[in-house]
Structure formats: structure tokens, C-alpha cells
Symmetry: C2
Subunit: 356 residues, 2 copies
Amino acid sequence: MATSQRRRRVTITDVASHAQVSTTAVSKVIRNAYGVSPAMKDRVQAAIEELGYRPHAAARGMRGRTFTIGVLLPDLRSPFFAEILDGLTEQLGDTEYQAIMIQGGTTHKSERRAIDALADRQVDGILIVAPIAAKTRLEELARDIPTVVLARHERSAVYDTVFADDDAGAQLAVEHLIDLGHRRIAHIAHQDNARARPADLLHVIRAETYKRVMRDHGCGDEIAIATTSYSAEGGLEGARELLSRSPRPTAIFAGADQAAFGALAAVHEAGLSVPADISVIGYDNIRLAALPNIALTSIDQDGVVMGRAAGRLLLDRIEGRTSAVRFAVVPSLVVRRTTAPPSESGQGPASTSAPT
Amino acid sequence: MATSQRRRRVTITDVASHAQVSTTAVSKVIRNAYGVSPAMKDRVQAAIEELGYRPHAAARGMRGRTFTIGVLLPDLRSPFFAEILDGLTEQLGDTEYQAIMIQGGTTHKSERRAIDALADRQVDGILIVAPIAAKTRLEELARDIPTVVLARHERSAVYDTVFADDDAGAQLAVEHLIDLGHRRIAHIAHQDNARARPADLLHVIRAETYKRVMRDHGCGDEIAIATTSYSAEGGLEGARELLSRSPRPTAIFAGADQAAFGALAAVHEAGLSVPADISVIGYDNIRLAALPNIALTSIDQDGVVMGRAAGRLLLDRIEGRTSAVRFAVVPSLVVRRTTAPPSESGQGPASTSAPT
DNA sequence: ATGAAAGCGCTAACAA
DNA sequence: TTGTTAGCGCTTTCAT
């Protein structure tokens, strides 16, 4: 029975009449455009203050900008995305721009719906993270709206890409294991239903690099891949499968830390121990990996830097840049306690160095 | 040097002229409003299809709805939020509404900025998750925009609340430990800078309930709280502190699973083992808790159901409901392997039942 | 430096 | 049933 008469928002007209000036004047002040006397500026600002006026984004959008950056995330479950967003937010910091996020999901339909939703809302720029859409679709989008694609490697003439060098990262991971003396190194890969070119997708690159490095070191025959997903469940399932093979691997390179956690669980479940029986290395270096009881060896890639770069590029594009740029971040290896030389029983070369 | 002439979006006028009808007709069709002949409807739909027309949300917003639900999340790091969003998305499913998210952060300033950003963008409804703002501010907001507050317990006349019964959940947790024979049960609590009434905040309720249940069972003297944060780092730090006390607790009730992971790490670090030396129970039952090597005992609360309910309530409010409703979900205990009777050395009553 | 007026794409009275 | 018209709140020429 509440009679909550919804209040009308304060508009530019209210401010104008309150300050006894034209709406044009107010508009100029809020955009701090050229051609307003200090006196007028003061009056208007006082009125804005007094009335608590805030420009209506939709109305602004009809003529020009909405001051909104749309961020398309596949999901909210990867801690890595949180870092990207932190970087972006930092970069947008004191500009008028605001980031809004939307969940793209894992199907073409849902991702498309999300992209459309962003376009319908006239965002000034789009940061699209690890999309599964085909490049042609993204280019179509990018022709209409300034776009930055994060976590894919392709080269496009109409949008920018920000990514970590997954080839280098995966190489770091596999060679770390090889240096420790492992040869039977297995990999947990991610399955998706992307329409993008495989070589542009980070998980494909990680898997391909794994194979290449294995071959480069003469371990081509030991290649073993379980393709599940970059999630705890995926890692669990994938590692179970890998551990059931005979001979079983002495090390597992999981394409993502989440999957590595699942792998750790599978090893435990099999009654084996890490790193004595099996070494495990992840990718992403998420916070939980650093906990002393987990101490997961991982590949670090600076998500904050990537988010910041994406924000900068988006802003530049909005300001008018049309040439495309590619921004790559270099990953690094963080050695913790889930990797060690293989045990004597393994078929790798016997190693005498003890785990620290 | 690319001359990417940004294409003009297809508008309702384009569709109208293409279909040789008025814009009103088109408008009616897209809203499937009353008063269009099947013939006209077909023609218009064909034109829409052909031109790939999509209504411009900002323009719609100027007259009425934007078909946008704004979701304010404190951050993206809690897996629990992902569930809420899943529920919401499911509920919004085949409506025209789209959820957009915005990060509120942990300061009043950032949260306020985020709320304003949503209001500026004329969202039709707001789902605000675990805000720190004072009730009066939220009510002010709710008077302008249909609002549902999730994860706070207050009773408001102008907005709806969706929450889990944290009192019941915390009681479940503490009594589980007491039933196992523990008496020196410590708690890891969360510190924030909220302006809300303490009794409305879930972490305060969990802490208060912990104290109450301890007293109810004659363990009032054993109350020990470390107030850090509901994060892995917070749990680590909090548990370190608790474990350094003498006599040390035989069990730790962490207010959130993330903190419980940190606690697990601290126990490990101290050279103790779970659950032999220390039992640990979390809260939220996030996915990682179920991994066999973690097997964290926790309190489950159905985030998906909460998100779904929030969506339903928001839709109802948008349709005109003005009376307020409170929706509470009942949590349940999920016993795994991080809790067991205290060891003999403890000061609790000796227990003969062995951990399973 | 200031303001009048047109118009962005849409919806909602109202007329026909 | 259909179309005409008047805005929604803002920005942007273009006069003054």
C-alpha cells in the first residue's frame, strides 16, 4: 500500500532554470567545453551541486557518448578476470568512463546475445575477453564500436589485441619440468566450441607449445593430453584419466591453475603424493596458488597490466585512433613446491638433487 | 590510415520506411503491443529481419524502460557471486531484460560511484549484493529505482531483501563442532567499513551467532575471534594468530570458505594436521571445497536459488509491486573430512569415535 | 560568450 | 487497425 511516487530525476533543464541560464550553457559546463565565462561556470556548478544533478547517460548517448565501456567476460569464475578488471578500472580511474560487465557464457548464442546487449546499450568501447566468436564477427563488431580483444592472439586491422605470450609461458612450464628430469609429462587441455582460428586461442597455443617443446626435447613419444576444461572439475577428471594410463606420467602440466587444483586432488585420490610421485604445474598464478599448503608452481602473467593496457587502448580508440595495435605481456615462471625431480622409479634420468 | 567510416545503426525509421509503415507500427510490433494486424506484423518482422534491426536501448530508455538490470557486486573474487548471477540470468532467461554488472569495491566512495553509474544509465532495476552503504542511502536509491538487496538481513519498506539465514548456518557450523566434542572453537571474522547496522551484515551475524552458540553450550570462556577478512589471505593471517594462542583452539570456524582455505594453510604451516590436530569448517560450500584433497566441511547456501529469487522480485517490482518482501534461504551442513572429534590431548571431553 | 532550436531513436497520446 | 505528433534529456550547429 506504499504510495512511492517515483521521483523525477533532475535534468539539465532543471539546472538551467535554477541557474537562470540556457541548457546549452549547462551542457557546456558539464563537458567543460569551450566558451563559458568563469562566472557562468560558477553559477552553473553551484546549481548542479545544489540540485544534485547527474547527466542522464542514455540521453547523452543519443547524441554522443555514453561514457561506458562494456566488458564481456565468459564467466565470473576465473580469478584472472578479476585482475584484468582491476587493471581496467585503474586505467579508467579518473576519467568519466565506467566499466560495466556482462557474462558471455560458453555458447555462441549466449555470447552473441551479450555482445548485442552491449551494442544495444551504445557502449563507447568494448573489451571482450577470451571470446569464442569467429574473427569475422568480431571485426564486424569492431567496425561499429571501438574494440579490444583480450586473451586471443590474432592480428586484426580493426581491433586491438592484448594477450600474454602463451607460447613462451607454456615453454617455460614444460622446460621447467624437463630441466627437473621429467620426460613423461602430460598435459590437461581445455575444450571449447570456438569458431575462432585455433592458433588464436590461448588454450590451443598452450597445448600446441606443450607438444612442440616435448618433441624438441626428444619426448615426442611421451606426449599425453587429456582434454577437459580449465576448471577444478576438468582438472580432476583429466588427471584421473592421465593417471590411469600406463606407464603413468611423472608430471602434469595443467593449462590453468584451477585445473591444476583438480589435478592435485586426483593425485591425492590415487594415493600418490606431490611432488614425490607426480609433479604438477599450473598456469595463471592465481592467489590461492601461493598458499603455503598448496604452493603450486605456476606461470605468472600480469593480469593487472593487461587490463590497464586494454583500458588505455580503448580510450585511444575512442579518441580516434584507427590503426590496430597488439600488446603482449611476458609471462614468468614461479617455482613453488609442487614440482621436483621425478622419483627413481620413473623412467626419466635419475636425478640426485633433492627437492628444496 | 584506415578509413573505417563507422556505420550508422539501423533505426526504427529505417525499418518503417522499408516496410512502408509508420514507426508507431514498428514500435508496436517490437513491444508486441495491442493493435497490430497479423499482416502488418509479418511485414514489419520481415523488415526487421532483413535489416538486422535491434532497438536502441538508450532511446527506449528515454521514454520508458532500458530492459537492463544492474547488478552491483563488491568484487569478482567470490565464487558465490557467480552462482547468484547464474540464478539471476536463468530467471531473466527469456525476458528481454539483460543483467549488467558493476564492481562496487570496498570503500563507500567506490560503491557510491558504482551505484550512481547504474542510476545514470537508467537501469530498470538494481540488484545490490552485500553493500556497505547505510540503509538510508539504499532506501533513497530504492525510491527511484526498483531495488533488491542481497546478502543483508534488514527489513525495509521500499526494497526487497534476499538472504540466507546466516544465524541458522553459523549455528549449524558451531554445533557440528560441539557435537564432535570440541570446546575450544575459534572463529575467523570479516572486517569491513560498512555503515549498515551491524546486525544486518551477514559476517557480523555469523560472528555473533558463533558467540551465542558458544555461550549456550557453556563454552563462553573459550570464545576466540580473529577479525581479518573473508579471503584466503585473511584466513591465513587470522588462523596464524589463533594458532599462536595458548592453549590453542582445537577447531576453527571460518566465516567463509576462502578464509577456511587460508586457515588450512596456516594449520599446515604450523606443522599440524587437519582434522587430527585441528578441525576446520568453512561457509558457502564453494566448488573447490568439494575437491577430494580438500574435502572441506562447509555450510551450503544455494546461491542459484537466491539469484533466481532476486530476479523474480526485481521483475515483479518493475511490473509495479511496491510492497516489500524478504526472501530467506535455509543453509545446510555439508560434512566432509576437515572436521573430526578433537584429539585426546585436547581439553575437550575425550571422544572415542574415530574420524571416518 | 550566450542561447534558440533542431534532432538523436524511441514510445505514447491521440486522431483518423 | 493505423498513422501523426509530441516529447524524453541531452548535444550541437548556428545566430546573436
